[in-house]
C-alpha cells in the first residue's frame, strides 16, 4: 500500500497526485513512469512522473481524468492508500548537452515535461518550452516551467495567449525562423506527439515522443504496449516509453489506443451507477 500525500485539482479534469514512495523517489529519473492502481478493482494505469522529492520520499504525477480508474484517482484524499504504486518503470530520457532543446507538452504532458525540461536545462541546454492548452483556464505549472526554460510559448485554442493556435504551428514557426534546434522532446496526447513529430520531420531534427499505449503489467511481461517503430515491434514499457517520433507507426498506435473505447464507457457508467445512484 502506498499513502497519498496530496491530491489536488490543478485545472478542470487534471489532478496532481503526490504519493509516499521513498524507494521510487531515490531511483527516479526524468522520463520514467510509475504504475498505479486506485483500488483492488482498478486498472493498472501508467503515469509519467512529473516530479519527485528524495528527502520527503515522494513522487508527484499529473493525472488526466478519462476512465473509471482515473475518476477514482481524482477522488482520493491525502491519507488514503492505494494498493499499487510501483516503479520507476521504463528507460529514462536521454539527457545530455545537445544545444537547443524544445520541450513540448500538452494536458497531462505539461506536468510530465517538467522533469525533462529541468534536466535538459541542468545539462546546459538552451531550453524552449512549448505548452499547449485547449483554453486559458486549463493552464498549470507555467511558473515551474518558466523557471527551467529560456523561453516559453503557450498555445491555446482561444485568443488568450501569444497565439491562438496549436502547438505544431508554434513549433513550425520556431523552426522556420531558422533557429537552430538540436532536439525536440514531446509528451502529451497521442495526437499532439504525432503532430509535433510531423512538424519536425522535414527539418530532420531528432524528435523524441513519450508514447502512452495501453499497458497492463508494465514490466515487459504482457506485450499490451507494443508499438511499431521503424517496422519493428517494440514494447513501450521496457524498450521505451520514448521513441523516435519519425519512425513510429502512428496509425497503428491510434487504433490500438482505442481498443477498449466502448468498454471504458460501459465501465464508467457502471461505476457511476454503483457510486452515485
Amino acid at each position: 500500500m502506498a499513502k497519498i500525500l496530496k491530491r489536488e485539482r490543478l485545472v478542470p479534469n487534471i489532478h496532481l497526485l503526490k504519493v509516499h514512495a521513498p524507494k521510487i523517489a531515490q531511483k527516479c529519473k526524468p522520463g520514467q513512469f510509475v504504475i498505479i492502481m486506485p483500488d483492488e478493482r482498478g486498472e493498472r494505469i501508467p503515469l509519467t512522473v512529473a516530479d519527485w522529492d528524495k528527502k520527503e520520499g515522494s513522487i508527484t504525477t499529473v493525472v488526466m481524468v478519462v476512465g473509471t480508474s482515473t475518476h477514482k484517482l481524482a477522488r482520493l484524499k491525502s491519507g488514503d492508500e492505494v494498493p499499487v504504486f510501483v516503479g520507476p518503470l521504463g528507460k529514462p530520457s536521454e539527457i545530455e548537452k545537445f544545444g537547443t532543446v524544445i520541450c513540448a507538452g500538452g494536458c497531462f504532458g505539461i506536468g510530465a515535461i517538467y522533469p525533462v525540461a529541468r534536466a535538459m536545462k541542468e545539462a546546459g541546454n538552451r531550453v524552449i518550452t512549448l505548452i499547449d492548452v485547449k483554453a486559458n483556464y486549463l493552464l498549470y505549472w507555467e511558473d515551474k516551467l518558466r523557471e527551467v526554460s529560456d523561453e516559453v510559448y503557450i498555445s491555446a485554442r482561444d485568443s488568450y495567449y501569444d497565439c491562438k493556435n496549436y502547438i505544431p504551428k508554434v513549433l513550425g514557426e520556431i523552426l522556420k525562423d531558422k533557429k537552430r534546434v538540436d532536439r525536440v522532446f514531446s509528451v502529451g496526447c497521442t495526437y499532439l506527439m504525432y503532430t509535433c513529430a510531423e512538424a519536425t520531420r522535414a527539418y530532420g531534427i531528432k524528435t523524441l515522443v513519450a508514447l502512452n499505449p495501453i499497458m497492463v503489467d508494465g514490466t515487459g511481461m504482457c506485450g499490451a504496449c507494443r508499438v511499431s517503430v521503424d517496422g519493428r515491434t517494440k514494447f513501450a514499457c521496457v524498450d521505451g516509453p520514448e521513441f523516435d517520433g519519425h519512425l513510429v507507426d502512428w496509425e497503428e498506435l491510434f487504433s490500438r489506443r482505442k481498443t477498449y473505447f466502448d468498454d471504458e464507457i460501459e465501465s464508467l457508467c457502471y461505476w457511476e451507477r454503483e457510486n452515485f445512484p
Binding site: 492502481m37 510501483v86 518503470l89 515487459g220 496509425e251
Partner: protein, 501 residues
Amino acid sequence: MAEKNALSPEVKERLRKGFSEDWRKELRKSIPAKERMKMRRQKMPEREPEERNKDFHEVNLGLNEKAAVREAQRCLDCANPQCILGCPVGIDIPAFIKLIEIGDFVQSVRKIKETNSLPAICGRVCPQESQCEAVCTTKKATGVSVAIGNLERFASDYERIKGEVYIPSIPPSTGHKVAIIGAGPAGLTAAGDLAMKGHQVTIFEALHEAGGVLVYGIPEFRLPKGILQSEVDYLKKLGVELRTNFIVGLTATIDDLKREGFEAFFIGSGAGLPSFMRIPGENLVGVYSANEYLTRVNLMRAYAFPKYDTPVYLGKRAAVIGGGNVAMDSVRTAQRLGAEKATIVYRRSLVEMPARVEEVKHAEEEGIEFHFLTAPVRYIGDDKGRVRAMECIQMRLGEPDSSGRRRPVPIEGSEFTMEVDLVVVAIGQSPNPLIPQTTPQLKVGKWGNIEVDWDTMATSMEGVYAGGDIIRGGATVILAMGDARIAADSIHQYLSNKKRK
C-alpha cells in the same frame, strides 16, 4: 540442459530405509502384486463439459477418500521406483502413496512437503504423464500408471480442507538474509526451502499479488486462486516475508539490496516479452499475446468486468495460435468468456502438441475445435484496425528438427482464410529483460536468459542464483521448482561456508 537422472547416495539410503520399514513390508504383502495390477485406475471426477465451459470454477473435483485409497493400492511399492527419478523435485512418491493406502493422509502430505512446498499446485498443473507417471512400474506392467498427480492433489487438499496445515519446526535463525526475486513457482519453492533451513527470507514481487504465472497465467478453472493463496500463507507461516510492488532492478538493484544486508539472491523473475511470429497484422486490435490475454482475465479479473475496471476483448470467433498448456488455457478462457467458436491453430499434429494430455482432453470435451498442421500467415483488419480474418497455410510434417519433433513444412498454394475477431498468440516468450538490463555484471545468453551452472544454478555473480523461465525461456512450473530446489541447496551451502570463514 542438465536434468537430474541419478539420486544422491543419501537420498537412496533414505528411500531404502523407508522401503524396508515393517509397515511397508506388511502392506506390500497385504495385497498381492497380481491383485494390485488388476485394479483399474480411479477416474478423476470432473464437472460436465457443458456446465463447466461457461464458468471459471475448477474442472476437476478431486478423488474422494475411498477412491484415493483404491488408487494408492495400485502402487506396487516396487524395489526400484523410477517415479522419484521422474520427479524434478524428487518427491518420495511410494512413501506418500503408501501412507494414503493406510489412510494416514496427514502424514502423507507431510512426506510430500519434505521436498515440495507446493503440492496442491503440483498435483494440479504438473505434466505427470511425461514425468513420474511416464516411468511408473505399474504402467510398465499394465499399461496404465498409478495416478500419482491425482493422489498428490488429494493428500494436499485433504490437509487444507481439514484445516490441519502442519507447520514443520524450523531450526533457529541463522541470521542470514536471502532475497528471492519473483514470487512465481521458482521463487516460492526457493523461499520455502531456505526458510526451512532457518534463513531469513524476503520475496520481492513486481506485481501486486504473489504467484507469478500461477496467478496471472493459469486460470481459475485449472488452479483456483484460493489454493494458491493457502500455499502462499503456508510460506508466510514459515517466516517468509513477501514484498509486492517491488521491482528488483528498478525499485532497487541487487547491489542496493546487498547494502541492505542481503547476502544471497535467487532470481526467479520468469517470463518476459511474449514471442510473436512477425507476420503482417500482428498488432491489429484484437490480436493478443497469451500473457496479456490471460493476465487481463486472471490477475486483473476481466472476467468480472465491469465490476473490475480492466476490460478484455470478447471475441465471438476466437483463434489461439499454439499447442502448449498456455494455448489450451487461452482457448478455454475465450470460450468461457462467450466465444461461439474457439479454435486451436497448431502447425504440427496432435501427437506433437506439448500441452498436457488432460488439458487437451478437457478442451476437446468442452467443444474446442482443433486445426492441426495449420499456421497463420497474416491477419486482416477492418477499417478500424480490428482483426476480422486470418489467412492460414496448411503444413505437412517433414524431417525431425533439433527438438526431435517433425518439422512442419508449408504446403504451397494451400492458403485459406478463417474469419476471426479474437486471436491469442501463445507461442512462448523470452526471459524477462528487467534484471539482465539493470544488472550488467550478470552473464546473459543469446536469448536473454541468465546463464547458470546447471549443477548449482549459480550465475556469474557471487551469491546470486537463478532458476525457472529466466534461465530456460519458457518451461513448466515443476521444472522451475526443480531449479529452485537445486538453487536453494546451493544457497544454503554458500551461506554455511560463508559463516565458517
